[in-house]
């Protein structure tokens, strides 16, 4: 007998959540978000790093309400369903490093696992190489898991307040966005930086983005939606539960793009993408490996941070810092190709992740 039934964690529940995300992401794009980037955790965290002035890439600066909504939605859901459990202390600095390199890999490719699927669903053939790289990186990670890789046990926090820091930070970002909106035609408010052109200048209306973020935050917290976990569980356990949600996301996104006239098949001149396929592959290999070693895709890390998981919050913070590093030091790609130091950073990241995988072992 199994009590405590959570309907969203059933097969049909996670398929429903995948369908909702798969429809809403292209709709957000239709309402103003960048092409094939209705929802991209990596790109949006990079934009937030830009909004805070952590990097000064003028085209990618905006305090994305979707990310704020993901964390706050998951937080509210965790509170409502009594799943808010403040915890932390499992190799936090290793998780931070993994977050930095996960972001560098994602920005060499130009997208997180969600955007990989959304790019493919929009017809961008270059995403095939990113997806293959993601799967290869996850496969590499599963080798380490099978060999006893572990970041050790997390500890339950002594105070319920301990898990609230990251949701509170996101709430603070929301307040900043509300009290410091973009002055007409200006690249800077009182505190926040804003893009005047490029992906950072493209966004759906604030309250729609926030509402979608909150909804997805609630649904993903309940369903445990995780794109990296979907492939990992298939490879490691031959279990397709999470994968059914990811497949539903992809199918819904293709259909929604076709309906909205956003499906443009091809490799050349795809929006916010480049055609350097080796680096599309290796960038997402690095990201996939880092996500696997950290235990979840970037979206899942945000949802867990909303549940009070300080280790996930550390990983997400690492990603935001990684975005700043990537843009300050020429690691991030652009539609013209990879950044001047992107190749070296990818190789260094792979070496560091392999060392982490080999050295952090239970036995």
């Amino acid at each position: 007998m199994e009590g405590f039934k959570n309907l969203f964690a059933t097969r049909w529940g996670i398929i429903f959540v995948g369908l909702v995300i798969g429809v809403l992401a292209p709709v957000l794009q239709n309402l103003g978000n960048p092409p094939n980037m209705g929802i991209c955790v990596a790109c949006m965290e990079r934009d937030m790093a830009g909004a805070l002035g952590l990097h000064r890439a003028a085209v990618v600066q905006y305090m994305r309400p979707e990310i704020i909504g993901f964390v706050l939605g998951a937080f509210l859901s965790a509170i409502a369903f009594r799943e808010y459990r403040p915890r932390g202390g499992s190799a936090p600095f290793i998780r931070f490093i993994l977050g930095v390199f996960a972001m560098i890999g994602a920005l060499v490719f130009l997208g997180c696992p969600w955007r990989t699927l959304l790019r493919l669903a929009g017809g961008d053939g270059n995403a095939i190489f990113g997806l293959l790289g993601l799967i290869f990186g996850i496969w590499l990670g599963t080798r380490f898991l099978k060999a006893g890789y572990s970041l050790g046990r997390t500890q339950t926090a002594p105070s319920k307040a301990a898990g609230i820091a990251f949701p509170a930070l996101m709430f603070g970002f929301l307040l900043l966005l509300l009290i410091d909106p973009q002055p007409q035609g200006e690249a800077r408010g009182m505190l926040l930086f804003y893009s005047l052109k490029g992906p950072g200048s493209q966004h759906a209306p604030l309250f729609i983005s926030l509402g979608v973020g909150l909804l997805i935050g609630v649904l993903a917290q309940r369903s445990r939606f995780c794109t990296m976990g979907a492939f990992r569980d298939l490879i490691l356990f031959k279990q397709g539960h999470l994968f059914s949600g990811v497949a539903a996301l992809f199918v819904a996104a293709v259909i929604t793009n076709l309906i909205l006239g956003q499906f443009n098949p091809g490799f050349e001149k795809q929006p916010i993408a480049h055609t350097m396929q080796l680096w599309n592959f290796l960038g997402m290999t690095l990201a996939g490996l880092a996500f696997t070693l950290a235990g979840g895709c970037p979206g899942r890390q945000l949802f867990m941070s909303g549940e009070g998981d300080a280790d996930a919050a550390i990983f997400a913070s690492g990603m935001i810092v990684g975005a700043a590093v990537a843009h300050n030091f020429g690691l991030a790609s652009s539609p013209a190709g990879i950044g001047p130091n992107g190749a070296v950073a990818t190789i260094v990241g792979l070496v560091v992740c392999v060392i982490i995988g080999l050295t952090m072992r239970r036995r």
């Binding site: 799943e83 459990r85 445990r224 539960h241």
Partner: protein
């Protein structure tokens, strides 16, 4: 006497890995798995069921759960 798997505090997918290792080692019998998140509770239960084991009982214990699975 049930075999005990203490998966409290471990990141996804380690609780499932430890459970499946024990399932493969024992073949049949009773296993109790200790977890401390709802995600782990669901993942472990799903994995055990997929291996043909029955969920005998799930009880709250401390800030987590004790999952008892069985195969005759």
């Amino acid at each position: 006497m049930a075999e005990i798997v203490d998966a409290r505090g471990l990141s996804c997918p380690e609780p499932v890995l430890l459970t499946l290792e024990t399932i493969k080692k024992l073949g049949k019998g009773e296993i109790e798995i200790l977890v401390d998140t709802d995600t782990s509770r669901e993942n472990v239960s799903r994995a055990a069921t997929s291996m043909g084991w029955q969920i005998e009982n799930v009880s709250e214990e401390g800030s987590g759960y004790r999952i008892r699975i069985k195969k005759d």
